[in-house]
């Protein structure tokens, strides 16, 4: 929405005023940027030898492996989280009440406290109890459990968003509950949920940076090592932030593209996933 909602079609005086305000605001923003650049310059943080290590093939390879580890972690965790999330969602919609309560309790419990706590428990807690999983897997499992409980809510919303007529029709033609799920409900529901799942992937990718705390050498931990070595922590951390922002920005764009495409295909009004897309987007607020 480029046309600002609160001030449409300005007259000549309003336009002039907006122009003046734009120039003033632009100048102020540039001034802020200038102050930052000056600050960096004064402290010698813009000098070439602070930035050049970033282009050194050795450093690049080192950080590249970190990014690879981050992506591997995200992929493994996502695969497990989607599976577990689907099971939990089916559990929450099951006909048997104890199963419903059990799945509900699991989902609410794991969403209720920080992922970091779960991660520390998965790594240090389990180790102190004598279970020694490889670091990669304990981190991936912690990420997966947390995201499974978030995804379960997304799946549930997606399944509930389907018209009741669909499951009724499935029953009418003689399909059992599970056949109806597998052949009628899930194929449609999954298609609707894909954008929300992709945005959850952004959250998960951001969460992988928590592996930093348990000495797993993903992107951020490697950035710290490289920055300490080359004495350019500031430059390295800016670069790493930009890498995360770039990857996540692309994923976010992809999610939006999928959503728009779907809206076009299903027709307007057909996309509503339990009270509108905002509900699902709200899930990505939930870190």
């Amino acid at each position: 929405m480029t046309a600002p909602l609160l001030a449409d079609a300005l007259g000549p005086r309003g336009r002039r005023r907006t122009l003046i305000a734009s120039i003033v605001a632009g100048a102020l923003l540039l001034a802020v940027l200038a102050v930052i650049v000056r600050r960096f310059q004064a402290e010698g943080e813009l000098e070439g030898d602070k930035w050049s290590p970033l282009l050194d093939p050795g450093t690049l390879e080192f950080l590249g492996l970190g990014l690879l580890n981050t992506l591997k972690l995200a992929a493994a965790a996502m695969a497990m989280a989607v599976t577990a999330g689907a099971v939990l969602a089916l559990g929450r919609l099951a006909r048997s009440a104890p199963v419903r309560w059990g799945a509900g309790a699991v989902v609410e419990f794991f969403r209720g406290f920080p992922l970091l706590l779960l991660l520390l428990f998965a790594v240090f807690g389990l180790r102190s109890l004598g279970y020694d999983l490889p670091l990669f897997w304990s981190v991936a499992v912690a990420l997966a459990i947390y995201n499974a409980s978030v995804l379960a809510e997304i799946f549930r919303a997606g399944i509930l968003s389907l018209d009741r007529g669909q499951s009724e029709a499935a029953q009418t033609v003689g399909l059992t509950y599970w056949q109806g799920m597998a052949y009628v409900i899930l194929p449609q529901a999954l298609r609707r949920m894909i954008p929300a799942i992709v945005s959850q992937l952004v959250t998960l990718l951001k969460d992988t940076s928590l592996a930093y705390f348990v000495q797993y050498t993903e992107l951020l931990r490697r950035a710290q090592l490289a920055g300490n070595f080359d004495r350019n922590l500031l430059q390295v951390s800016i670069a790493v932030a930009l890498v995360y922002i770039f990857v996540n920005f692309c994923l976010g764009r992809l999610a939006r593209r999928l959503e728009v495409r779907q809206r076009r295909r299903l027709g307007a009004g057909a996309i509503s996933v339990a009270g509108g897309p905002e509900d699902l987007v709200a899930a990505d607020v939930d870190r």
């Binding site: 909602l5 632009g26 920080p114 706590l117 951020l220 995360y244 922002i245």
Partner: protein
């Protein structure tokens, strides 16, 4: 146990101060994003895109380990509050903006036809209605903030999660300690959830 209470206190104060800052930032950025002045709109959009796509851990890292090299340094606790406020502010801004979009255009048009300026339209007509309609999304952001405050551990602020970690190592009783911490978080988040539900019903506009 004392350590635990200490941790809870730190978590609560991080959350409350962080929320004050985040709300202020969110209001400003949201008004930027709907303002008629293009540079402000771009600035607001850029801020939200940058901050939302960057992991909180990386922001902490940048602020605490990176910026001192450029001569910007704050004490530990204020740093944590600033980073949490900057990060959460982007989410608050998005929630408020979605609220502004739900206020009927007629409201702004009516206000304008009375001769109110942009600031008056936004501050006295649109925002009061917008905020009421986004109590629930803002509540989700608040609860996320309670949980996110644990990441202040990056800069060695020992709040509830950090305290649990220390205790678990010291006492070698991982399960009770971590379960205790998890329950403590539930004690913080559940009442917040109820309070938000109450507030939402209280301020809801009957249409």
């Amino acid at each position: 146990m004392d350590l635990f209470l200490d941790g809870i206190r730190t978590t609560v104060s991080l959350t409350l101060y962080g929320w004050l800052g985040a709300f202020a930032i969110g209001l400003v950025i949201a008004s930027f994003r709907v303002s008629p002045v293009p540079p402000l709109r771009w600035a607001g959009a850029t801020y939200v895109e940058l901050v939302r796509n960057c992991p909180l851990t990386v922001l902490f890292f940048l602020f605490w380990f990176g910026l001192p090299n450029a001569g910007v340094q704050f004490p530990r606790f204020p740093s944590a509050v600033i980073v949490l406020a900057l990060y959460t502010g982007a989410f608050v801004a998005e929630a408020i903006r979605s609220g502004i979009n739900t206020v009927a255009t007629g409201q702004a048009e009516a206000a304008r036809s009375l001769g109110l300026t942009f600031g008056q339209v936004l501050g006295q007509v649109v925002l009061p209605q917008a905020l009421r309609s986004v109590v629930a999304p803002l509540g989700n952001v608040f609860i996320a903030l309670i949980k996110n405050s644990s990441i202040a551990y990056t800069i060695s602020i020992v709040e509830l999660t950090g305290q649990a970690q220390t205790l678990a190592i010291r006492s070698a009783a991982a399960i009770p300690v971590f379960t205790g911490a998890a329950i403590a978080y539930l004690i913080l988040t559940l009442p917040s959830g109820f309070a938000i539900g109450w507030l939402e019903r209280r301020v809801a506009i009957k249409r």
